[in-house]
């Protein structure tokens, strides 16, 4: 009997064979693997440069089998702009958290998208600052307790969570903007497809692409991994709807003024 065993699911070659520092159940790992799988599928690993800014995922420069650059907090889209403009033949992606992208780096992401830089932004939204120990982020949910919103986020003082995907889709520059999640396996499958489309738009030199991905932070949310996934389902998804917000050939979604 010939041995016709085939591997169906295994370690993507674009992911380095190391143990990550991420907490048990943190879905950063899932997103890392899917990005690596997409890079493998598109066959672009050898001409990819990733940008890992400050945050839990700064150590991503140790986790991808590609040339990487570590960027200062919030500036990954600018660093990526520099790389892409210097070497347009490279596939450039940034891997940013919500504190990095939606707080200190808000200006950089908006202008990078508005200039239409042909880079791919992987935006991991876990509603908290992870690496620094669980502070309130721009995407922290109303009432969510963090180390800097001990009584729960008070929207009268800290405002409402920022919806980045919706914000970017009001820009008229063509782009691919979508939001996915990885708290359920089938959501992860759809998110991988979003990532595949995003990177494909870049490989085809078409437009800027960003995929916002709802992710968990069991440690700083104080929830076991599975309950953290449930929390994403019950609390985050209703506020951060999943799907594709903008495609390069679609019209912009800026709200119309009314009198």
């Amino acid at each position: 009997m010939p041995d016709r065993t085939q591997a169906v699911f295994g370690y993507p070659s674009a992911l380095r064979d190391v143990t990550t520092h991420y907490c048990p159940g943190c879905t950063h790992g899932v997103i890392h693997r899917m990005v690596a799988e997409v890079l493998d599928e598109l066959g672009v690993r050898s001409r990819t440069v990733g940008v890992a800014p400050v945050g839990c995922a700064v150590l991503a420069y140790d986790y991808f089998n590609a040339d990487m650059q570590q960027a200062s907090h919030g500036r990954a889209p600018a660093v990526a702009t520099g790389i892409k403009r210097a070497r347009p033949d490279l596939v450039v992606f940034t891997y940013q958290g919500d504190g990095d992208l939606a707080s200190i780096g808000m200006s950089e992401i908006l202008h990078c998208a508005n200039r239409g830089e042909k880079v791919t932004v992987v935006f991991v939204n876990n509603a908290i600052y992870g690496m620094t120990g669980g502070q309130m982020a721009p995407t922290t949910m109303p009432g969510q307790v963090t180390t800097t919103s001990p009584l729960g986020r008070d929207v009268r003082l800290a405002g409402e969570p920022i919806r980045m995907a919706e914000m970017l889709c009001t820009l008229r520059t063509p782009a691919f903007v979508a939001r996915g999640a990885v708290h359920r396996p089938l959501h992860a499958v759809r998110t991988k497809d979003l990532l595949r489309r995003a990177f494909t738009y870049q490989v085809e030199d078409r437009c800027f692409s960003m995929v916002e991905i709802l992710s968990t932070c069991p440690t700083n949310w104080g929830l076991p991994p599975q309950e953290a996934c449930d929390w994403v389902e019950q609390t985050m998804v209703p506020y951060f709807p999943l799907g594709i917000f903008k495609t390069p050939d679609g019209s912009d979604r800026a709200p119309r003024p009314v009198w």
């Binding site: 085939q6 591997a7 169906v8 992911l15 950063h28 899932v30 992860a188 499958v189 996934c229």
Partner: protein, 77 residues
């Protein structure tokens, strides 16, 4: 016949795969791996339907799958 392999020392004991498996054939061991976590293991390999949900769920790529013969997936990953 699909077969999944869980690398004991990659697992961080988060139990996401155990809860995600539609066949509920995964369990947590009582012994510790080299990282000091109780790790997941395959309780009933024969009932595995090869849906890859555990592989997709695992944040540490600790679960790999191979198949002997044809395999039909009902979703593209």
């Amino acid at each position: 016949m699909p077969r999944i392999v869980i690398e004991r020392d990659r697992c961080k004991g988060c139990e996401l795969c155990v809860k995600a498996c539609p066949q509920q054939i995964l369990g947590m061991t009582k012994e510790l791996n080299s990282k000091g976590y109780f790790f997941a293991f395959v309780a009933e390999q024969k009932r595995c339907i090869g849906c890859r949900v555990c592989c997709i769920t695992c944040p540490d790529v600790a679960i790999s799958m191979c198949v002997n013969g044809t395999m039909i997936h009902y979703f593209r990953y």
